[in-house]
Amino acid sequence: MTFEDKLHASAQRLMAQDNRKLHVPQNPLKQKKTYWGWVATPAAAVAGLVFGMTMHLFMNTEPNIQYVFGCFSNKASRLETDTLRILQPVHDTLYLTQIVEKEKVIFRQAKDLEAAEYVPVQEEVDTPVCTSIQCDGINYAILSSN
């Protein structure tokens, strides 16, 4: 190791020791400038909240804070279909004889699920399927005997 190499290695060690303990001042441009994002972001959030509440009032609906934050309203509805099929045994085979009812159900989710009201809104009753010899002239008993 030459003397120059020794000098170089020692200088690097001393420099690292010094640099590590220094308290570096803040970026001089940062001291002068205000970062408007810190002001604009909360202001935009408050403006959005106020606008949302105003729109609710304007539309003559009950203000619902959950709606503003993107949750489902407790007035939300769910559509369900309930269908009852009646199957009739003829000899060994089951035949679909008729669809009794098909109804659309609006299930309103109240605050308490136990208090949920079951409101059948629309009731559709399908025409019964005629499967007798009097209706369509087919003797179903003969068909099923094979």
Binding site: L7, A9, S10, Q12, R13, N19, L22, P25, N27, K30
Partner: protein, 192 residues
């Protein structure tokens, strides 16, 4: 280039953004990369005056911002060290430190040096002795030492910073190395 994050850009690419688009985020990235090292450079030139080093560091970076349009696209680090070098020289021009260093230079040849002592030294002892010597080094020599051995610049880079011919830099470096060798061999702590 647009989609690249600032951290992946080179110093020169960042500086081009600063110069061309007044991009203060790119400037912030440059500051983050170089401020500590630059402050350390000032700290050693100012003999451990941390407050003064911090002021000079901020001053240097303010000059980077105000003179951003004069950046020619070469090495940012060399450009930054040129600014730093001029700040240190201006500082010494207005101070009275120069005289005491002349005394140091005169003492160089007075004692007989033992050329074997350096070879027997441990790394820690060498560091301590060198630190003490560097504190007494004249400002111009201290700057030269920093640029060569701490900042690891080449002779042409140092010549560009100091606005000197390369031959002059080489001869000054040779003289500096010889002086340091001689002084280290005379060092009291080492001779014990």
């Amino acid at each position: 280039m647009f989609l690249k994050s600032l951290g992946s850009l080179t110093d020169e690419e960042l500086m081009q953004r600063v110069a061309g688009e007044d991009d203060d985020r790119a400037y912030g990235e440059l500051y983050h990369r170089h401020a500590r090292r630059l402050m350390g450079f000032f700290f050693r030139q100012m003999n451990g005056d941390e407050a003064l080093a911090a002021d000079l560091c901020q001053d240097a970076f303010m000059r980077v911002w105000t003179a951003r349009e004069r950046f020619l696209g070469s090495s940012f680090r060399t450009w930054l060290l040129t600014i730093a070098y001029n700040l240190v020289r201006n500082h010494y021009r207005h101070s009275e430190n120069q005289r005491q260093y002349e005394l140091f230079a005169k003492q160089s040849g007075e004692m007989v040096a033992d050329s074997n002592i350096i070879d027997k030294m441990t790394g820690e002892a060498f560091d301590q002795a060198l630190r003490q010597l560097l504190e007494k080094l004249p400002p111009e020599s201290r700057l030269l030492f920093s640029l060569r051995f701490e900042e690891e610049l080449t002779v042409p880079q140092i010549a560009a910073i100091m606005t000197l011919p390369e031959g002059t830099v080489k001869s000054r470096l040779h003289l500096l190395t010889q002086t340091l060798r001689q002084k280290l061999n005379q060092h009291d702590d080492i001779r014990r």
